[in-house]
């Protein structure tokens, strides 16, 4: 069983983690803020849920640790760990988006005004 089969459909948390990381690698708290922002606050895991998700995603090889991006704000204090999406993660996300797209098309058809089945 490939990770893809086991993971799909993705939980909203995992989906948004991958979605955010598909654009840029981020450290933990910044990742949380980005998820809240991109989901208009609808998806707002607590940090524990986020990190447990990250632990699962990285053990499935979907997310990996990465070097900080060049423009990272290296504020003083201990260095934060950055997370990046892997190729496998990217293709899983694409597959999930495709699945969601199909579901969305179906929903649009069924909910279109004036049409009943």
């Amino acid at each position: 069983m490939s990770p893809r089969d086991r993971r799909q459909p993705l939980s909203p948390n995992d989906f948004h983690v991958l979605l955010v990381l598909a654009e840029q690698s981020l450290y933990g708290y910044a990742l949380l803020k980005a998820i809240q922002e991109e989901s208009d606050g609808l998806v707002s895991p607590d940090l524990g849920a986020l990190y447990r998700g990250l632990a699962r995603l990285s053990s499935d090889g979907l997310v990996t640790e990465s070097a900080p991006p060049d423009d990272a704000d290296l504020s003083p204090g201990r260095p934060r760990r950055y997370y990046a999406i892997t190729e496998e993660g990217r293709s899983l996300l694409a597959a999930e988006v495709e699945r969601l797209g199909r579901a969305l098309d179906l929903a649009r058809i069924r909910l279109a005004p004036g049409e009943t089945k």
């Binding site: 069983m1 708290y29 607590d46 940090l47 849920a49 990190y51 447990r52 990285s58 201990r78 760990r81």
Partner: protein, 898 residues
């Protein structure tokens, strides 16, 4: 404490909580993501936009994440479940064995949870009782741990000592030292390094408004004493400390980071202090600061030739040589004191030296108070535990039927015991966690009310061992005090049936516990009332001056610009005029040696019309140098003769006034009025014989509770000292900006130091008495409340048990009043015995309060009577509800239910 310090303290505190919680997480999570998770949590905590109740949410996230991680199947098991079939089977077998044990425990846990949730009242009382006991104990343990137990933050902390002087005529008083004495004593074999220090403010100018920076003044390098190396540059040396020597300073690491931006080239640069350029020659290692929170160190520049051994302005801080003890050092100091007395009889006769460990010096009188508080919370914990035991006994009786059924169904005695203990353990954990939460609140509160006399209390950070202490205490109390009821419960099940002689045994053991609770509460109550009387006596102390609406600040004139005494006098005259012109100001004065400001100067003196005593045998008194408006501003009455006046100037007849304590103390030398004295101090102007022209009222100046000291007041215009506490009586106390402007108009480079109202100063002096009174009163209140809950429980239980009997009595014609009397009689016997035992315990224990009491005798009968009455009244109140229940019994219904 500044806002930033509070924030960083909170940050440290949170970090500690996070790391403690993570330590309990499964290893896999800890090792892979743990550290980063902790950082993210800190980010979250630091994020101001992250909503409210963050501390509570943090605890929840830590708990939930940890619990879910533990419940997650391990990675290997997960791997096995999708891998090779044999491996999978092996993994399942192994998990099976573990799971069986786990399952049984989980089953018990689930059962315990279910059974507890059926009795919310019991759970709430039990958990609250434990939490209160644990909270009070953990909070006080935090204080004791920080102040008395944790090592000082220096590697050689155990070898550090503080050196003070003792005079033969006042052996209890520790006094300052002279620099030559300290330098001589630094040669002793048992002392590796010894430095003379003093703390004062430096005025930092040259960058905006003048700012006072707290500085340590030393005769040589301090780092050597603490066996430390500077972070950069060098330490001060004895060669720096020469009259008119180089102006050099060492700055603290924090000062270097915050004020100098951590610049590499800071060493060698200069700062303008007291109007003079000072070269930075070194930076102290990170975290080092002594004494207290000084930010830079400078040489004393003491004129050893001029001031010498009679100038007692310094304290010695030293380190024992390797292999030497404090006792050896003390012996050597004794020999050295004799030698110095022989060599310098004028200055050193009757003088000896006392070495104290640095911690003893810092903790001082606080040790006794803290240990008493620790004892008090120990009693509170005992009461809480007794309540817990009493509750368990009652619950045991109620569950007897259930346990009997379980035994018949095959449960072993061990299993039943385990069940009861698991319940107790759960209560213990919940009570412990809540107690720790409560302890954090109490600790926070203690930090805000702690007086100056208790060191380090402004920096309490409950650590792992404090939390460990709280949890172990709670679990221990819950398990220990449940084990006996558990055993009895399990063994009693052999005897079936709801009502047996066991019930009477239960009443007996609960009554016994109750007697103990009442006795302990009374002991605490007596202590609290003794401290309360002390505090009220302290509030009543006649200060000898009117403190309300008097503002005060300290002014120190730098050498630069004020080296001539005339200039000093002119400065203060102009200052008086400027301040008097401020709208709202009623009168202005000044004094060196303001009440509760800590800067006092003693002097030897003698009457010129009597033969001069030998040097060293002269009487001594405090000398207070004042701007004459001081007496009017503080409304200190003139008793005889006249007060000092503005017309008493340099060049005119030198005068002084003395206080009544002076007249009393030196009565055998005759009436002081109109006699000439010679003082042994010498400031700006050369000191000439003075005529005593008046006697003024006594004031409490150095402590609230001590006898007033003999004092000689002399006018500043004839003395010209460069330091002075200015006092201003005003309508209202919100005049600081105007007063600051007035000072700036006289000299823009002079900052106002130590601003406070006299009311604040007096309040500060009352701090320790208030602190101990408030804490002990709080603990006594908790104790009485817990005992009342215990009493209520026992009496209610008796009423419930005797419902049938009471119903029959009612049915055969007994009055309801008889039942009420019956109920009270049940409770009064244990309460009375408890009070009797408690009185005896309090008589024995109140002696421990000793020096914490003032004008109250530890055996004051009124105190004991009051405590007895309070406890009796509270006990009666606790019995009202069960008595009413008994009186309103409907006999037929009660009998039907039975």
């Amino acid at each position: 404490m500044s806002g930033r310090e509070v924030t960083s303290q909170r940050g440290r505190f949170r970090r500690r909580i996070i790391s403690m919680a993570l330590a309990l997480y499964p290893r896999a999570f800890k090792e892979t993501l743990g550290a980063d998770f902790a950082l993210a949590l800190e980010d979250w905590m630091a994020d101001r936009s992250a909503g409210r109740f963050k501390p509570l949410r943090l605890l929840w996230v830590l708990f939930k994440t940890g619990a879910l991680e533990w419940l997650r199947p391990s990675a290997e098991a997960a791997e096995a479940s999708r891998g090779d079939a044999t491996v999978r089977q092996l993994a399942i077998d192994d998990r099976g064995r573990k799971a069986k044990v786990m399952e049984l425990t989980l089953q018990d846990l689930r059962f315990a949870l279910r059974s507890l949730s059926r009795r919310p009242g019991f759970v709430i009382i039990a958990v609250a009782t434990l939490a209160v006991g644990v909270g009070a104990n953990t909070a006080i343990f935090t204080v004791v741990d920080t102040v008395l137990l944790q090592p000082l933050p220096y590697e050689v902390a155990e070898d550090l000592l503080i050196l003070r002087r003792v005079e033969e005529r006042a052996p209890g008083e520790l006094r300052s030292m002279s620099q030559p004495d300290i330098e001589d004593l630094s040669e002793l074999d048992s002392i590796a390094a010894l430095v003379a220090f003093d703390t004062r403010g430096f005025t930092l100018t040259g960058s905006g408004e003048p700012e006072v920076v707290s500085a340590g003044f030393l005769n040589e390098g301090l780092l050597e004493v603490f066996a430390l190396q500077p972070a950069a540059g060098r330490d001060l040396t004895r060669a720096d400390n020469l009259p008119n020597g180089p102006r050099v300073i060492v700055v603290s690491h924090a000062f270097w980071m915050s004020r100098l931006g951590g610049r590499e080239d800071a060493v060698g640069s200069t700062l303008e202090l007291d109007g003079e350029a000072h070269e930075i020659v070194g930076i102290a290692p990170e975290g080092f600061s002594f004494p207290e929170d000084v930010r830079l160190w400078a040489p004393l520049y003491n004129d050893v030739e001029g001031c010498g051994r009679s100038c007692h302005l310094l304290t010695g801080i030293g380190r024992l040589s390797d292999g030497h003890t404090l006792e050896e050092a003390q012996l050597e100091l004794g020999v050295a004191a004799q030698r110095l007395a022989r060599d310098y009889p004028a200055d050193n006769r009757g003088k000896s030296f006392v070495a104290k460990g640095l911690r003893d010096h810092l903790v001082g009188d606080a040790r006794r108070g803290l240990l008493i508080l620790l004892g008090a919370v120990g009693l509170v914990m005992l009461i809480a535990a007794a309540n817990m035991a009493s509750l368990q006994v009652a619950r045991g009786t109620a569950r007897k039927r259930e346990m009997t059924v379980r035994t018949f169904l095959g449960a072993s005695r061990g299993r039943l015991c385990r069940l009861v203990l698991i319940e107790a353990g759960l209560l213990g954990i919940v009570g412990g966690v809540l107690g720790i939460g409560l302890a954090i609140l109490i600790t926070d509160w203690i930090m805000s009310v702690a007086p100056d006399g208790v060191p380090q209390v402004t920096d309490l950070v409950p650590g792992l061992r404090v939390f460990g202490y709280g949890l172990v205490l709670s679990l221990g109390a819950a398990l220990l005090f449940s084990s006996l009821p558990a055993w009895r419960l399990a063994s009693a099940t052999a005897l079936a049936g709801p009502r047996t002689s066991e019930d009477r045994g239960d009443v007996r053991s609960r009554t016994f516990l109750l007697v103990g609770e009442v006795a302990l509460s009374l002991t605490l109550l007596v202590g609290a009332i003794l401290l309360m009387s002390t505090y009220s006596k302290i509030l009543e102390v006649d200060l000898g001056f009117e403190k309300d609406t008097v503002l005060s600040f300290f002014v120190a004139l730098p050498d630069n610009g004020y080296s001539e005494p005339e200039k000093v006098v002119t400065f203060f005259e102009r200052l008086e005029q400027e301040l008097a012109a401020v709208p709202g100001v009623e009168s202005v004065g000044g004094i060196l040696g303001r009440p509760f400001a800590g800067n006092t100067i003693g002097t030897s003196w003698h009457y010129l019309d009597r033969p001069r005593p030998e040097e060293g045998d002269e009487p001594s008194a405090r000398v207070r140098i004042i701007l004459p408006g001081y007496l009017e501003t503080l409304r200190i009455p003139t008793v005889r003769g006249r007060a000092l006046a503005d017309s008493d100037r340099h060049g005119g007849a030198p005068v002084a006034v003395v206080n009544e304590a002076f007249v009393r103390r030196f009565a055998e030398l005759g009436d002081p009025l109109q006699r000439e004295v010679q003082l042994g101090v010498d400031f700006g102007f050369a000191e000439l014989p003075r005529t005593i022209v008046g006697v003024i009222g006594d004031t409490q100046t150095e402590s609230l509770t001590g006898d007033p000291r003999p004092e000689i007041f002399v006018p500043q215009a004839q003395m010209a000292v460069v330091w002075m506490s200015v006092v201003v009586r005003a309508r209202g106390t919100n005049l600081w900006p105007q007063l600051t402007d007035a000072v700036q108009r006289v000299d823009p480079l002079i900052p106002l130091r130590s601003r406070e109202t006299l009311s604040e100063a007096v309040d500060r002096a009352r701090g320790p008495a208030r602190f101990y009174f408030m804490l002990l009163a709080g603990f006594a209140g908790i104790a009485v409340l817990l005992s009342a809950i215990g009493l209520y429980g026992v009496v209610s239980y008796i009423v419930a048990r005797r419902t049938r009997e009471m119903a029959i009595r009612l049915a055969v014609g007994a009055s309801r009043w008889t039942l009420v009397r019956l109920v009270f009689a049940q409770g009064l016997l244990p309460v009375a015995s408890g009070i009797a035992i408690g009185l005896a315990a309090a008589l024995a224990g109140s002696r421990l309060l000793g020096s914490l009491l003032y004008e109250v005798k530890p055996f004051d009968p009124a105190v004991y009577l009051l405590a007895t009455v309070v406890l009796a009244v509270v006990s009666m109140l606790a019995m009202v509800a069960p008595a009413v229940r008994a009186a309103s019994l409907a006999p037929t219904r009660a009998l039907e239910e039975e």
